[in-house]
């Protein structure tokens, strides 16, 4: 725990950098010395601060959601984007767009959550029905399920001329996050805290159903709680910023390699690392091709796929 404070400070520093990187000039000096003009303060309050907060909340939430998914599916390769969760949430978004486009964002999120819950539940049900020999097959099933759901989404989006709108929200991108358009992520924040409160239960669930029953834990109830948390966190991120792939895969595995999986101890690290990773990837996306932006989803896609491949090739995980 003694390294937690320095790590927290580094993340705060990155958040500060995130506040001051962008096309419009926002300078710390000007703000501190009281020389900031109205425009500068407006950019900071309406765009930069919401964006930075959204990055932190989304990163922490997705990393924790990935951890819970891995404990529930008992597989190290599973996270919301390899289990059909993200695709289901997107389908839910499309349904809202088609049937009730005027819905407030909170209700949109709830509809997307309901879809995500159904899709993830289906994934876990398939895993229970089909015993798999190799742990690598589990995410393949999830990716296939996600592909099928995605095909449905694409079909309807194409029919109703919504392909472009869909493309806009599915690529994880925080450039459109403004004040008034990210607040639903505080729901993800609340659920991340709830996950921490229930941390021991998720650790026990990660020991397997038999161990859970032996220790007097109602396994079904823990799975249900976990599914609700994962679905709502994913849905709120998809609704505000789009798909953030691989965070739920990279961060939990990295933390687990170093510190293990006693979640009471590791969840704060997982949340912090998730936030830091998304902040860094977003800053990189904003800097490398300035004044244009590369969506954070693309940057994460590159980082994540390298990590994923590396994980597949490691012997320890093949046996796991």
């Amino acid at each position: 725990m003694k390294f937690f404070l320095p790590a927290l400070l580094i993340t705060v520093a990155m958040a500060a950098i995130s506040l001051f990187v962008g096309v419009s000039e926002v300078s710390l000096l000007a703000i501190v010395s009281g020389q900031a003009d109205e425009k500068m303060l407006m950019v900071l309050a309406a765009s930069r601060l919401p964006r930075t907060l959204a990055l932190i909340l989304a990163g922490a939430g997705m990393a924790v959601a990935g951890t819970i998914m891995q404990m529930l599916s008992r597989n190290r390769f599973v996270e919301p984007s390899t289990a059909g969760t993200v695709e289901s949430a997107s389908l839910g978004m499309l349904a809202v767009l088609l049937l009730a486009p005027g819905l407030p964002v909170m209700l949109k999120m709830l509809v997307a959550s309901a879809f995500a819950l159904a899709g993830t539940g289906l994934f876990l049900a398939i895993l229970r029905k089909v015993p798999l020999r190799s742990p690598v097959l589990v995410p393949l099933i999830g990716l296939m399920l996600g592909g099928v759901i995605n095909a449905c989404t694409t079909f309807f989006a194409y029919r109703y001329d919504l392909m472009q709108a869909m493309g806009a929200w599915t690529s994880g991108d925080f450039s459109t996050v403004l004040r008034g358009r990210y607040e639903v992520l505080w729901v993800a924040c609340a659920l991340t805290v709830a996950a921490y409160i229930a941390a021991d239960r998720f650790t026990v669930a990660g020991m397997g159903e038999d161990f859970s029953t032996n220790l007097g834990l109602n396994y079904g109830r823990v799975v249900a709680l976990g599914l609700v948390i994962v679905s709502m966190v994913t849905a709120s991120v998809v609704v505000t910023a789009g798909i953030l792939p691989f965070i739920g895969l990279i961060v939990p595995n990295l933390v687990s390699m170093i510190m293990g999986d006693r979640l009471r101890h590791t969840l704060p690290w997982i949340a912090l690392t998730g936030a830091a990773l998304v902040l860094v990837c977003d800053i990189v996306g904003r800097v490398v091709n300035a004044p244009y932006e590369i969506p954070v989803g693309s940057v994460l896609g590159i980082v994540g796929s390298i990590f994923f491949l590396n994980m597949l090739l490691r012997r320890r995980f093949r046996a796991a």
């Binding site: 021991d200 026990v204 020991m207 397997g208 220790l215 007097g216 834990l217």
Partner: protein
């Protein structure tokens, strides 16, 4: 006492446990033996509520396991199954500490720490306490799981083939440990064993399963006889009395 009344379990058309009724006495070691596919592990899993039964009831000290809440039973009865693959990457100490979960729900008290340290010492795991389970040998891991069950400190402790993965020295010390737990702490140990001689030397009571049915039960002296064992396993047996222990020889 664990009372088993008319319990059955089938998968599709194959009956795995067929109408078994038995009473496992309180205290001492009860072994369950029998050939492969006799339903031993299934019976044990049903007693420990890990597997639903198709018919029948199991009472643990008068509590119907189907109606008693999980966390109440977790303080009375514990089980360790055979293959314990776990996704959560834990240290030995973390794992053993979770044995206290039924009592503290994740918030350990100083007494819990004593239990944890005792269990670690009892299985000689102190030097591995901070190591991760995936860094240990199969035998060390098996001992860590047993330490967790000891730490759970229940009156009834059920083990499904706990000697798997253990070499001779550790197998003997595991059986001694179970016997001491039964004698010193008044625990009731129920154990599925493959090795007839371990069952003969360490059990107070033996239950024999065959073809899903309760075939026989009694004291070791009543079961460990050439003609009985031949009946159970379907191959020739000799039984020798060596210093008071009945040792069977079946190597042909």
């Amino acid at each position: 006492m664990i009372e088993i009344r008319d319990i059955s379990k089938s998968y599709g058309s194959s009956v795995v446990v067929d109408n078994v009724t038995a009473a496992l006495p309180k205290g001492g070691i009860t072994s369950i033996i029998g050939p492969n596919g006799a339903g031993k592990s299934t019976l044990l899993s049903m007693i420990a509520r890990l597997m639903p039964m198709d018919r029948g009831t199991v009472l643990v000290d008068g509590l119907d396991i189907a109606r008693t809440s999980g966390d109440v039973l977790a303080k009375r009865l514990s089980i360790l199954r055979q293959d314990n693959h776990m996704t959560a990457r834990l240290t030995v100490r973390d794992l053993v500490a979770f044995g206290r979960y039924p009592y503290n729900k994740g918030r350990p008290t100083p007494q819990d720490q004593d239990h944890i340290n005792q269990a670690l010492a009892y299985l000689g795991l102190e030097e591995f306490a901070e190591r991760f389970l995936d860094e240990l040998s199969g035998g060390q891991r098996q001992r860590a799981f047993v330490a967790m069950v000891l730490c759970q400190d229940t009156d009834y402790m059920l083990f499904d083939e706990p000697l798997n993965n253990l070499d001779i020295r550790h197998a003997v010390s595991m059986m001694k440990l179970l016997r001491n737990a039964a004698r010193d702490f008044g625990k009731t140990v129920v154990v599925v064993l493959h090795d007839v001689n371990f069952a003969s030397c360490y059990s107070d009571h033996i239950i024999v399963m065959r073809d899903g049915k309760l075939f026989l039960q009694g004291k070791p002296r009543e079961i460990i006889r050439p003609e009985t064992l031949e009946d159970i396993y379907g191959c020739p047996f000799e039984v020798h009395d060596l210093g008071g222990d009945l040792i069977s020889v079946y190597y042909g």
